[in-house]
Every structure is written in structure tokens, then in C-alpha cells.
């Protein structure tokens, strides 16, 4: 029975009211009258407080913590119009020379000795040795073109992910173009991944210079930097070396990987697409090691750990949903 004065008649409403700065002494007195009104009310109240407490105990859960941070952003009216990039990047405010773009101009006008296209199918992984001796590993569903001229070596990554162990040649710098930016290499091992959201560059050995949107920076071994489709450059962060070596062996080694980025990666390995029914699920962070060809294990983990169910939407399309 609701109190005529407060209108509160559930344990949950009482928990919410008692935590409010607007809770009055009358409210508190009414709360105790409500407790006495029915024998079940005390237990219901205690259960609600316990759930309330357990929810806060999830602050240490990486996925929930990420959702909490996302909630802060998404509820900030002044930030609502800002586009979010899939890595938590704080955009650098350094204005540097647009070296990268000028390189592109040079290469486009130079005569090209040999142009070669490479592509891998879904689920396929391949390593090739290029004309200059560089070793190139293509992850599944990757497309690229190489063009080697007398003064320059160019690789244009149309999509997917590569690992490149570049042959050293100071007279012919190697440039990888991906999305709205470029990576300039001398002799070095690094990886470039191009997705719908943008491009990320991870450096394993040596040195590369990454240019996008008029900004260029030098990446050091063990660092990763990303730029989005508008060429906006992020701040370099640590490269997950284990994960970046893992995909070459068919392993996805995840340390707080966002679910949407993970699905994009999984989709390279199967003709059956995985998508999210609710885009906000993309913010969930996943950790663990999965074989790229073992979707079942991943789907089971998502169900057990996150209550996310897989629904076969079409023969070649699985939708992940958290609807009850």
C-alpha cells in the first residue's frame, strides 16, 4: 500500500529515496512505518539494498567499468555531438609538418616498376616475400597492392591486417598507405590494421613515422597509434605484443578488447557475420584467448560471462543480443 504522502510503496523506491539528498525526516519516519506495514517489506528492502550494493561491487569489472565511463560521456549534453573513436584516444594537440601527405604526392607521380595485388579470403592467412626481400603476412580478409619504384616502395592497404618485416633500404623508403594516413619505414617490423573505424599501427622493431591529417609522429618499438577515417591521429599507447604475435598463429589474445572490435576481427575468419543487436554492447571489454576458428568457444564465453545470446538471424548472419 502506498503512503498517501510519499507515494512510495516498493523496496526499490525506498532505497532510491533514502539515498537522495531530498530525503526528509518525514520520509525516513514514513519508511519505518512502511517496514511495519507488511512482514515481507523488511526482507524486500534488504534484498534491494543488497542488489544495489552488488551493482557497485561490479566497479572492478572491466566491462562494467567501461560502460560506466561510457555512461559519463553519453550523458554529457555538451559532448553528445562529438564522434567517438573506437580506441580511447585523447587527440594530440601537436601540429607538425604534413610529411606523410607529401610522400604520397611523390609516389603518385613516380613511374612504378612493378605493381602487384595480394588478397586473402575469409579464414585464410598468408605470408609472402616481396621483391625487395620484405616479409609480408596477410591476415584473413585482407586486400593490398604493392608498387615498387626506383626511388620508393609503396604498399596500399585497402582493408584487413598485415605484419611487415621490412627489408632495410635507405635509398628507397617503404611507405604503407592505409586509410587517411601513411606509415614511413626504413627497416623494421610492424603491423597495420585497417577497419571500418580507422587504422592502427603497431611497431615491433625498428622505427616508423606515421602521418595522418597533417600530423606525423615517430613510433617506437612496443607502441601502437591509431588514426580515424578523417585522419585524426591519436596518442601512441602500448602495443599488446602478445596479441599482435597471436593472430599470426591463429590466436586471438584479448586483454580488455572492445566487443565491437573483436567481432570485426572474428568476422575475418568466417562467412557467417557476427553483429550486435544493440550497438552499446560494443563497449563491453573482453579478455581471454580464443582460437580464431573457434566461434563456439567465444559465443559460449559471451553467454556465460555477459548474458549475451547468439541468435541466428539469417543462414550467414548471427546477431548477438542481450534482450531477455
Amino acid at each position: 500500500m502506498a503512503s498517501a504522502r510519499t507515494g512510495i510503496d516498493t523496496a526499490e523506491a525506498w532505497v532510491a529515496r533514502l539515498s537522495s539528498p531530498e530525503c526528509s525526516a518525514q520520509d525516513r519516519a514514513e519508511f519505518e512505518r512502511w517496514l511495519e506495514r507488511s512482514p515481507g517489506n523488511v526482507q524486500a528492502y534488504a534484498d534491494a539494498e543488497r542488489i544495489h550494493y552488488l551493482a557497485s561491487a561490479l566497479a572492478g569489472d572491466p566491462g562494467i567499468a567501461a560502460l560506466g565511463r561510457a555512461a559519463r560521456r553519453e550523458t554529457d549534453p555538451s559532448a553528445r555531438s562529438r564522434r567517438r573513436w573506437y580506441l580511447p584516444l585523447a587527440f594530440a594537440s601537436i601540429a607538425l609538418l604534413a610529411l606523410g601527405l607529401s610522400y604520397l604526392g611523390v609516389f603518385r607521380s613516380a613511374p612504378e616498376e612493378s605493381a602487384q595485388q595480394y588478397a586473402t579470403a575469409i579464414g585464410e592467412r598468408r605470408t609472402v616475400v616481396l621483391a625487395d626481400g620484405s616479409r609480408l603476412t596477410l591476415d584473413a580478409d585482407t586486400r593490398l597492392e604493392t608498387a615498387f619504384a626506383a626511388t620508393a616502395r609503396r604498399i596500399r592497404l585497402a582493408g584487413g591486417r598485415i605484419d611487415l618485416d621490412a627489408a632495410h633500404d635507405v635509398r628507397r623508403p617503404l611507405v604503407v598507405e592505409a586509410g587517411n594516413g601513411a606509415i614511413r619505414v626504413t627497416g623494421t617490423a610492424f603491423q597495420v590494421e585497417r577497419t571500418a573505424h580507422g587504422t592502427s599501427v603497431g611497431l615491433l622493431r625498428g622505427q616508423v613515422e606515421v602521418s595522418a591529417g597533417g600530423v606525423s609522429l615517430t613510433l617506437h618499438p612496443g607502441q601502437l597509434v591509431a588514426y580515424d577515417e578523417h585522419g585524426r591521429m591519436g596518442v601512441p599507447g602500448p602495443l599488446d605484443v602478445k596479441a599482435s604475435e597471436g593472430w599470426k598463429r591463429g590466436l586471438l589474445i584479448l586483454d580488455n578488447r572492445r566487443l565491437d572490435a573483436l567481432l570485426e576481427e572474428m568476422n575475418r575468419y568466417s562467412d557467417t557475420r557476427l553483429t550486435l543487436a544493440q550497438p552499446e554492447l560494443g563497449a563491453i571489454a573482453i579478455s581471454g584467448t580464443f582460437r580464431v576458428d573457434d566461434r563456439r568457444a567465444l559465443l559460449d564465453a559471451l553467454r556465460e560471462g555477459w548474458g549475451i545470446r547468439a541468435v541466428q538471424a539469417e543462414p550467414d548472419h548471427i546477431e548477438l543480443t542481450r534482450a531477455p
Partner: protein, 198 residues
């Protein structure tokens, strides 16, 4: 605060004939030991909220008496209630005495009100982990707006006032969404059977 309160509380447990509200002897004994066990913790809880030792003792004493009224309820529920009533009593006393200055701490959060204290063995720990997994799954199923406000409070640790000004809404609207989130969580956990209190 009435003098002799502590003596009273003890005697109720010792003498069954002086139990006009009809609880059984074992109920009385368990309630008494619960209160005796929790009393110093409630005092510490109140001191953390800024009360002097003497004031905290008084408030805990009065709260214990009020908790006795619900003696037929399960001990775990009474434990939570003890802290809540102590907090309410403290707020009432403070409001009477001074200003509403310290009233921003209205929730029971910061010590988990002893919810974890009983989880000393591995089995209890495991069952709490299961419960947490269910709460997590239920959180993800909340409607987006409701979930965001709830997470701002629970995960980001923002007060109603902070949430209200961050989101540009009223404190009342925040309370409504918190209440709604809790109600939906209860339903989801009941569906998952074996949720809290099920």
C-alpha cells in the same frame, strides 16, 4: 537517548516471558547476538560519517532498539536494516542539531554494510561470484537511459546531485531512474532464479 537501553536489549533475550511481541526464544537469541556482534561495527560506521564516539554510541543504541521491532525477520535482513536505521537516525539527529551539511552521505555503500563479512569460505565466495555475474547480466539488460544513470551512481560513484547537474535533469528524475533500475534488476534476477532473496 533513553538511559539503560543496553541493559534492556540484553534482558529481552534472557527472559522469554518478557517478550510481548511473540518471537521464539531462538529468534531472540539470534537477534541479540546479531546486535551484539554488529553494534561496534555500526558505531565505527557512524564515526566514519563524522559522529563522535559518544554520539555514535547513542545512535547505535537507539537504532538497535528500533531494529528489535522487526525481530521476526531473518537476521541478514535485520543486519542491513540496522545500518539503514542507524544512518537515518544519524541524519535525523544531525538535522535537529545543526545544518544539513553532512547529509550528502545517505547511502550505505562504503562498507558494503557487512554484506561481505560472512563470505569467509570458498563456497560463499563462489556463490557471491555467481550472484555478481547475474547482476552484471541484468545490468546489461537495462534500458539505455536508465542504465546510464544507474551506472553513474553505482560505478562512477556520482551522487544524485552530481548526476543531475551532469545530465541537466532534476534530482527527482535521478531518483526515479535509480528506483526503476533497481526494480528491473529485481525482476531480472528473479527470472534468473536464485537471485538475492529468492
Amino acid at each position: 537517548m533513553a538511559p539503560g537501553v543496553r541493559g534492556n536489549a540484553v534482558r529481552v533475550g534472557q527472559d522469554r516471558t518478557e517478550n510481548p511481541q511473540g518471537g521464539s526464544a531462538s529468534e531472540e537469541a539470534s537477534l541479540e547476538s546479531l546486535i551484539r556482534e554488529q553494534h561496534p561495527r555500526v558505531v565505527a560506521f557512524l564515526q566514519k560519517r563524522g559522529l563522535s564516539l559518544a554520539d555514535a554510541e547513542d545512535v547505535a543504541q537507539e537504532s538497535a532498539l528500533r531494529v528489535m521491532r522487526y525481530r521476526s525477520q531473518p537476521p541478514n535482513a535485520l543486519k542491513v536494516l540496522f545500518y539503514r536505521i542507524a544512518l537515518n537516525t544519524m541524519s535525523d539527529t544531525q538535522r535537529r542539531r545543526v545544518t544539513s551539511q553532512a547529509l550528502r552521505h545517505q547511502s550505505l555503500d562504503d562498507n558494503g554494510f557487512e554484506l561481505v563479512s560472512a563470505e569467509s569460505d570458498a563456497e560463499q565466495w563462489a556463490s557471491r561470484q555467481q550472484e555478481l555475474a547475474k547482476v552484471r547480466a541484468a545490468l546489461l539488460r537495462l534500458p539505455a537511459h536508465c542504465r546510464r544513470l544507474y551506472l553513474l551512481n553505482r560505478i562512477e560513484g556520482m551522487s544524485y546531485t552530481q548526476i543531475a547537474s551532469h545530465c541537466g535533469i532534476s534530482v527527482k528524475a535521478v531518483e526515479k531512474q535509480i528506483s526503476k533500475a533497481l526494480a528491473l534488476l529485481r525482476i531480472a534476477l528473479a527470472d534468473a532464479h536464485g537471485g538475492p532473496g529468492a
